[in-house]
C-alpha cells in the first residue's frame, strides 16, 4: 500500500514494556501481596454430577493457622443471589446443593499461609448422592440427564430473553440461518457429500494461572485481577452486590497470557465474596492443574452436507454444529452464534442452512479461546472441502478458488463481504508451498504429502471502546484505555496510533493500564477487536485532543497555524505549567442484529478475520508418527500497524493451534479429567516448531480500520488444523475426522485401510 512514510504507523517499534519484561520487574497480579491478605485454596468436587449431602469442614477449620472455611452458605451472607455469568446467570460462586462437573469448587479454606490453606483443603470431605451424568454433546442434545433444571439467561443479552425459564433441555441456545432452499439445491446437485468431524476439549494454559485479589472495606471494593475484561468485571460484580458501579474498582496490570480464558468473570466473584465474608483482602491463585477446571475450549461435533455440481460449484450446504459447553454457559452461547454464522465457510453458496447449538454437559465449562469457535468449524468445512475435491478429482486449490467468496458478494447472512483478502491469502499459501510443482512423495515407509486450507471469522458485535488521551502541561501524553496488555502488544500499537495523530513518538506515550476508577469503558480485550475498536477510539480521542489544542490556540487569540508548542499554550492560558487537555472518544461499529429465524443481517460483523494455512508432512507408515516439515500461515490483518508485533501474533497463534491439532486434548475417564497437568497435557515446545515455518500477512487494507489496520491475534488459528489433516490424507490416503491428530489414530486408520485392523483401544 502506498502510504507516506510515518514514524509510527507501519514501524516495528519495540514493545514499550520490553525492559520490564526481560528484567523480571513487570507487574502481574501473580505477585501481588496486600497487608493482612489471606490466601484462599479451593476444595473441589470429585464427582461429575451429584447432589451434595454434606460437607465436613470441621477438621480443616481446626487446623492451626486456618482463618476460616467458607461454603456457599457463607457466601450468601455477602451475596444473597450468588449466581454469575456473561450470558446466563447459571454459575454459583461455590457449588450450591449440586455439583455439575468433577473439579467444581465446593468450599474454600482461608489462611495467611497458602501452604496451610492447601493442607487444610486435604482435610475437608464431602458426601454426595451421585446423579447420572452426560459428557458428550450429541448425547446431551436428547439425554434425559439434565445439567440444569431451568435456563437462566442474563438480562445483558436481549436476544437471549426468550430462553428465560425454559426447562427440560440441555440446549442453552440454538442459532439458525436459512438462505435459499438447500433441499432443492441438494435435489438438483450432481453429487451430495456428508461428513461429520469432531474437535476435542482443550485449554488456554496461560503461563500465569488465573489469579484475583479482592480488597473489600467500608462499602468499597478493589479487585486486582488477571482479567481481559475489567469493565465487564466491574459491571457484573456491581450487579452481584447490588452496588453502584463507582464503588467497585477493577485494576489489571500486565497479564501473563489470556487467550480468551481470562474473559468476563472468572475468580472475581469468588474473591469478592471471600473478602466480604472475611473482612480481609483475599487472594485466590490457581495452580496450573486447577486451571483446567476454570474454563476450556468447546468440543464440537459438526455434520456438514454439500451439494456440488460436476464443474465443482457448491450449490447447497447444511451445517449442524453442536458445541459442548460444559456445566456452565460462560460465553458459549455467543460462540454458538458467532462461529455458527460462518460455519459454512468462506464460500459463495446459494442455498445454506445452519443450525448451531450450545449444549450443557457435566464437563468443566467452555468459553472463548483464540478463534471463538472458528477453528473448530474450519476443521470441519475445510476437511470436507478436500474430501469433495478428492472425490471430484479436482485440484484442491482450484476447487476452493472456484467457490471462494469475493469482496462485494453476500455471505450466508446476506452481509456483503468487504476487505476480506481470502483469495490473496489462499494464493500466497499455495505459492509458498510451490503448489504447482510436484512434491517428492517418498516411498517405502516414509510418505510425504501437503495440504491447504482457508477460513474466516466474524467479529463479536456490537461492542464499544472508549479512550482518553490526556495531554499534560509539559506536552507529554498519557493514554487511558481499558485494553489489557497480555502480550499481544496493545500498549505499543495504541501508543503508535495516538502518536501518529498527535505527531509524537509512540515510545514517549505513557499507556495507563486498566483501572476502572481511571480508565474508561471497554467491552473487553478479546476476539481480535482491540486494534479495530479501541484503535479507532484512540485515533478519535487523539483527534479530539488536537481539536481542543486548536480551540485553545484560538481562545488565546493565536493566528491559525501558529503552531505554538503545547507547553507554551498552557503557560499562556494558566500563567504557569498547569492544566490538561483531555481528548476523548468512544467507538461502536455499525451492526445489525441477525433475524432470529433466518439469521439474516446486512451488517453481521465489523470486519472479517481471514487466515489460510498450508502444511507439508512426512509420515512413518510403520508407526503413524509424522513430522510437519513445513508450515505456512498467511493472514489478512489489513495494514500491519507494527509488522514485528503482527508477525509474532501470527506465529504465536499458529503454534498454539499446532498444539490443538497434534497433541492437546483433555482426556476423561468416568467424567474425571485424567491428564490435567502439563506433565500429561502436552503443549508445544521448541522441539515442535517445524523446520520451515513461514508466517506472513497479505498486502491489504481494512478501509474503515484505524490507519487501515485490524485484528491479527486469531487469524492463523483458523485454517491450520485442516491444512495438516489434509496433508496427512495427501501423504497416506487416510482421513482423520477427530482432533487431535495422533500417531496412533493415523496408524489405526492405516491398518483399517489395509484390511488388517488393530485390536481395540
Amino acid at each position: 500500500m502506498a502510504r507516506t512514510a510515518s514514524r509510527n504507523i507501519g514501524q516495528s517499534i519495540p514493545r514499550l514494556e520490553a525492559r520490564e519484561k526481560v528484567t523480571g520487574r513487570a507487574e502481574y497480579v501473580h505477585h501481588l501481596r496486600l497487608p493482612g491478605m489471606l490466601y484462599g485454596k479451593i476444595f473441589r468436587s470429585t464427582v461429575p454430577h451429584a447432589r451434595i449431602k454434606s460437607v465436613d469442614v470441621s477438621a480443616a477449620q481446626a487446623l492451626e493457622g486456618v482463618y476460616r472455611v467458607v461454603t456457599i452458605d457463607d457466601i450468601r451472607e455477602a451475596i444473597p443471589h450468588p449466581y454469575y455469568g456473561p450470558a446466563f446467570h447459571d454459575q454459583p460462586i461455590l457449588a450450591d446443593g449440586k455439583v455439575r462437573f468433577a473439579g467444581e469448587p465446593v468450599a474454600v479454606v482461608l489462611a495467611a499461609d497458602p501452604h496451610i490453606a492447601q493442607e487444610a483443603v486435604g482435610l475437608i470431605s464431602a458426601e454426595y448422592e451421585e446423579l447420572p451424568a452426560v459428557f458428550d454433546e450429541v448425547e446431551a442434545m436428547s439425554s434425559d440427564v439434565l445439567v440444569h433444571d431451568v435456563l437462566k439467561p442474563a438480562a445483558t443479552f436481549p436476544d437471549l430473553k426468550h430462553l428465560a425459564g425454559r426447562t427440560g433441555t440441555n440446549v442453552a441456545l440454538d442459532y439458525h440461518l436459512l438462505r435459499g432452499d438447500p433441499e432443492a439445491g441438494f435435489a438438483a446437485a450432481d453429487h451430495v457429500f456428508e461428513h461429520t468431524y469432531r474437535s476435542q476439549q482443550v485449554m488456554h494454559i496461560p503461563m500465569e494461572p488465573f489469579v484475583s485479589v479482592a480488597d473489600a472495606a467500608d462499602g468499597r471494593l478493589t479487585l486486582h485481577t488477571a482479567s481481559q475484561s475489567p469493565s465487564f468485571v466491574r459491571i457484573e460484580i456491581a450487579r452481584l452486590l447490588g452496588w453502584p458501579e463507582n464503588r467497585v474498582r477493577v485494576k489489571v496490570p500486565y497479564l501473563g497470557g489470556g487467550f480468551g480464558g481470562k474473559l468476563y468473570i472468572k475468580l472475581e466473584a469468588l474473591v469478592t465474596a471471600l473478602s466480604l465474608v472475611a473482612r480481609r483482602p483475599v487472594k485466590v491463585a490457581l495452580t496450573m492443574e486447577e486451571q483446567f477446571f476454570m474454563v476450556t475450549r468447546h468440543p464440537c461435533t459438526f455434520t456438514i452436507k454439500s451439494g456440488v455440481n460436476k464443474d465443482g460449484t457448491i450449490v447447497a450446504r447444511t451445517c449442524k454444529v453442536v458445541w459442548n459447553g460444559g456445566a456452565y454457559a460462560d460465553i458459549g452461547p455467543r460462540v454458538t452464534q458467532k462461529a455458527g454464522f460462518t460455519s459454512a465457510g468462506p464460500y459463495d453458496i446459494e442455498n445454506v442452512e445452519i443450525h448451531s447449538y450450545a449444549v450443557y454437559t457435566n464437563r468443566p465449562p467452555c468459553g472463548a479461546l483464540r478463534g471463538f469457535g472458528a477453528p473448530q468449524t474450519a476443521w470441519a468445512y475445510e476437511c470436507h472441502m478436500d474430501e469433495i475435491a478428492e472425490a471430484l478429482g479436482m485440484d484442491k486449490v482450484a476447487f476452493r478458488r472456484k467457490n471462494l467468496l469475493q469482496n462485494g458478494r453476500p455471505q450466508a447472512t446476506g452481509t456483503i463481504v468487504q476487505d476480506a483478502a481470502l483469495e490473496q491469502a489462499l494464493d500466497q499459501v499455495a505459492d509458498r508451498l510451490n503448489w504447482n510443482e510436484p512434491l517428492d512423495r517418498g516411498d517405502g515407509r516414509i510418505r510425504r504429502g501437503r495440504g491447504i486450507a482457508v477460513g474466516f471469522k466474524g467479529i463479536t458485535a456490537p461492542t464499544t471502546s472508549v479512550a482518553i488521551v490526556n495531554l499534560y502541561a509539559d506536552g507529554s501524553c498519557g493514554l487511558y484505555i481499558s485494553t489489557v496488555e497480555m502480550g499481544q502488544g496493545s500498549d505499543t500499537v495504541m501508543a503508535q496510533i495516538a502518536a501518529e495523530v498527535l505527531d509524537m513518538d509512540a515510545a514517549a506515550i505513557k499507556v495507563v493500564h486498566p483501572d476502572t476508577d481511571v480508565t474508561p469503558y471497554d467491552m473487553g480485550t478479546l476476539g481480535s477487536r482491540s486494534t479495530f475498536h479501541m484503535g479507532t477510539a484512540v485515533r478519535l480521542a487523539a483527534e479530539d485532543a488536537r481539536k481542543k489544542i486548536a480551540e485553545l490556540a484560538r481562545e488565546l487569540g493565536l493566528p491559525e497555524g501558529s503552531n505554538l508548542p503545547l507547553p507554551e499554550l498552557f503557560r499562556r492560558k494558566y500563567g504557569m505549567q498547569a492544566g490538561n487537555i483531555i481528548g476523548t472518544a468512544s467507538f461502536i461499529p455499525k451492526y445489525e442484529k441477525p433475524d432470529a429465524e433466518t439469521g439474516h443481517s446486512r451488517n453481521a460483523t465489523p470486519f472479517w478475520g481471514v487466515g489460510a494455512s498450508g502444511a507439508e508432512v512426512e509420515v512413518d507408515t510403520e508407526t503413524g508418527h509424522y513430522r510437519i516439515t513445513k508450515l505456512v500461515n498467511v493472514a489478512d490483518v489489513g495494514t500491519a500497524l507494527n509488522p514485528k508485533l503482527v508477525q509474532v501474533q501470527l506465529s504465536g497463534a499458529g503454534i498454539m493451534q499446532l498444539g490443538f491439532t497434534t497433541t492437546e486434548e483433555m482426556v476423561y475417564r468416568d467424567g474425571q479429567l485424567t491428564n490435567g497437568s502439563l506433565a500429561d497435557y502436552k503443549i508445544p515446545t521448541l522441539l515442535d516448531i517445524p523446520p520451515e515455518f513461514i508466517n506472513e500477512h497479505v498486502d491489504s487494507e481494512q478501509k474503515d480500520g484505524p490507519f487501515g489496520g485490524k485484528g491479527a491475534g486469531e487469524s492463523t488459528t483458523i485454517a491450520l488444523s485442516p491444512a495438516i489433516g489434509n496433508a496427512l490424507f495427501d501423504a497416506v490416503g487416510v482421513r482423520l475426522t477427530d482432533l487431535p491428530l495422533t500417531p496412533e489414530k493415523i496408524f489405526r486408520a492405516l491398518c483399517e485401510a489395509n484390511g488388517t485392523p488393530l485390536a481395540g483401544e
Binding site: H115, T623, T663, K682, L687, E744, F747, E761
Partner: protein
C-alpha cells in the same frame, strides 16, 4: 506440604539413626525432584526428610577402575555430572545419549542417580539402560551392605526391594569391550514427553551376527523388564528381517502391555515390534 523437618546427616551412622525402618513418613531425599512432585500433589506427606547431600565419600563421585573395566558412581551424582563426564561419554556413550531427552536441563542438574533408582517409576529412562549395561547397586543399611543387580531393585509399579532404612550408596557399571548400547525412547503424545515405551539394548556384535545381548523394556510394563525370550531368539543369530520379526513377536508374547494414556495395548505392542527391530539395525549400523 507442611509440617516436616529436614535433617542433613554427615555420616552414615547418623543417617541410619535418623531413618526409620517402619515409618513411611521418614524418607531419604536425594535431588528431591520426584519427592517434591509427590509432596506438592499431597500424595506423600513426610514428617522427616533425611538429606543425603552431606554424606561424603562413596555417595559422590564418578570413578573409573584402573584397568578400565568399569565405573563406580556415587548415588548422589547428578544427571548432569554423568552427562558431562568425559569418561562416561567415552566409555558409556549411551548414558549421554539417554540424557539428551531425559526431563530437562534443570531437572538433570539436581536429580540423583540413587533417587532415580529408588523412585521406581517404570517410565524413567535411565533404569532400563543400567539394566542393559549390567549395572549393580551397592545398598547399605544398619544391618550391613549388599550388592545387587539393578533389576533386583524393582519389584513393581513404584515398588522396590529396599527396606525403609536402606540407602543406595553407589552403582557399579561394567564397561564391556566389544559391547555397544542404545536407548530408544518412544513417545506417542508429543516429541518431548514421558516414554510410551523405553527400550534399552546392549549387544556384542560380530558384523551382523549377534554374539550376546541384553534387551530391556520399560514404561509399557510395570518395571524395567529383561526380554529374555526375545534375547534368546537373537542370541547367536544373524540380523535379518525374519529374525527381527521373530524377536519382536517373542517380546510381545513375553510381556503384559496394557492400554494407558500413551496408547492402546495393541498399538504399543506394535511399536515394540517395530522399534526392537529398528534398534538392533541401528546398533549394527553403528558397528559397520
Amino acid at each position: 506440604m507442611t509440617g516436616f523437618e529436614i535433617v542433613e546427616p554427615e555420616s552414615l551412622e547418623e543417617a541410619f539413626r535418623l531413618l526409620d525402618p517402619e515409618d513411611p513418613a521418614v524418607r531419604p531425599i536425594g535431588g528431591g525432584t520426584a519427592l517434591m512432585l509427590m509432596m506438592k500433589a499431597q500424595i506423600y506427606k513426610p514428617e522427616r526428610l533425611v538429606s543425603l547431600r552431606r554424606l561424603d565419600g562413596r555417595f559422590s563421585g564418578i570413578d573409573i577402575a584402573a584397568d578400565g573395566s568399569g565405573f563406580r558412581i556415587g548415588a548422589m551424582t547428578t544427571f548432569s555430572m554423568l552427562e558431562h563426564s568425559p569418561a562416561i561419554r567415552r566409555h558409556l556413550p549411551v548414558i549421554a545419549q539417554t540424557m539428551k531427552t531425559l526431563a530437562n536441563v534443570r531437572v538433570r542438574n539436581v536429580a540423583s542417580v540413587g533417587g532415580n533408582l529408588a523412585h521406581a517409576d517404570p517410565h524413567l529412562d535411565l533404569p532400563p539402560v543400567w539394566v542393559a549395561l549390567g549395572a549393580r547397586a551397592v545398598v547399605v543399611g544398619p544391618r550391613g551392605e549388599r550388592t545387587i543387580p539393578v533389576e533386583a531393585i524393582f519389584e513393581g509399579y513404584y515398588e522396590t526391594s529396599l527396606a525403609n532404612d536402606e540407602l543406595i550408596a553407589e552403582l557399579e557399571v561394567p564397561v564391556r569391550a566389544g559391547w555397544d548400547a542404545l536407548y530408544v525412547k518412544v513417545t506417542t503424545r508429543a516429541a518431548h514427553d514421558w516414554p510410551a515405551l523405553g527400550l534399552a539394548v546392549s549387544a556384542e556384535l560380530e558384523g551382523r551376527r549377534i554374539r550376546d545381548l541384553r534387551l530391556v523394556l520399560s514404561a509399557a510394563v510395570d518395571k524395567p523388564t529383561r526380554l529374555a525370550a526375545a534375547e534368546a531368539v537373537l542370541r547367536g543369530a544373524e540380523i535379518g528381517p525374519a529374525t527381527l520379526r521373530a524377536a519382536g513377536e517373542a517380546a510381545v508374547a513375553e510381556t503384559e502391555i496394557e492400554s494407558d494414556s500413551r496408547g492402546s495395548a495393541a498399538y504399543k505392542q506394535h511399536l515394540l515390534r517395530v522399534h526392537l527391530g529398528r534398534a538392533i539395525e541401528a546398533l549394527a549400523a553403528k558397528r559397520v
